[in-house]
Assembly symmetry: C2
Homo-oligomer: 175 residues x 2
């Protein structure tokens, strides 16, 4: 084998070994995690966070086993990715989630500055198996005073104190 | 002192010792936690969760010190309350938050089934110190395809697999 051929073989071998994953591969991983999670006592949801074509972190729905109503797949994946990358800002990352994000997860994705969302199943598919977030979406469309869940404003003036402290703080970390 | 007087004194003493807190007291606690948290390197937000007139758990914004964009005061308080009570369902609880909840926290409050929300400062006060969630609120008003953050549906059919697994599972914990 010539030196050139040998080099070519090495490159092909390395590329195969470290298979370059595409959008569909990442989504399939999220779906696979969701299926496994049902077996492991969690909800049927999985998510994968990717940066520069590589998986940074994954998450699955652990609401009932962990007694944590915020432990949706996307929130768990965001928290894991931030821990791994040592940052609270996931700019440059993409999230692949087996199901369309609920309002809580969508909010988390915005706060984390994730660039783009890919989703598999949609909110109607989720509602068909009793994971219905359409009520929350509808509630968010209404003004606070028109929502079903009571919300009341008290001590508005006193509640400016934390913001005044924040304004005066010199070494604060903004986000 | 007569026996009746003695009993009355004991009742008054106990009531004073265990001061019955009202809505304003709980909100003042949330505000106080928010102010302290600024000193401790966190964001200017605090929250208190109350059940049967007693504080179950508290939370403060730890986004930047914990590298966790989901660590808003309300989310932290919900997670702490659920851990303490050993449940993912906070029905019967009320949340007092120093500032109007963002869409992520509002979603978390709905998923946790908290009965009522009291808030102090509002989203405009928060925006004035650069904590602006109005963009997220506006984004949620739009259909997914009309939002600024790109969102794309792929592998819709394959993504039904977790829901099929969920349907078939006999011993699942629904929520």
């Amino acid at each position: 084998m010539s030196a050139a051929n040998h080099l070519l073989c090495k490159i092909v071998y390395k590329a195969r070994k470290r298979k370059i994953m595409n959008h569909r591969d990442f989504m399939r991983k999220a779906i696979e995690l969701a299926v496994e999670n049902v077996e492991n006592g969690g909800g049927p949801f999985g998510a994968v966070i990717v940066k520069n074509g590589e998986i940074v972190a994954t998450g699955v729905n652990r609401v009932t086993p962990n007694n944590d109503p915020t432990a949706h797949a996307e929130v768990c994946a965001i928290r894991a990715a931030c821990t791994k990358l040592g940052t609270f800002d996931l700019s440059g990352c993409v999230i692949y989630t087996s199901c369309e994000p609920c309002p809580m997860c969508l909010g988390a994705i915005y706060w984390a500055h994730i660039d783009k969302i890919f989703y598999g199943a949609n909110q109607h598919d989720a509602a068909a198996v009793n994971f219905d977030d359409s009520f929350i979406y509808r509630e968010l469309e209404h003004k606070p005073e028109e929502r079903h869940k009571p919300i009341e404003n008290i001590l508005h003036k006193e509640a400016q104190a934390p913001f005044n402290a924040w304004r005066e703080k010199g070494d604060k970390v903004e986000y």
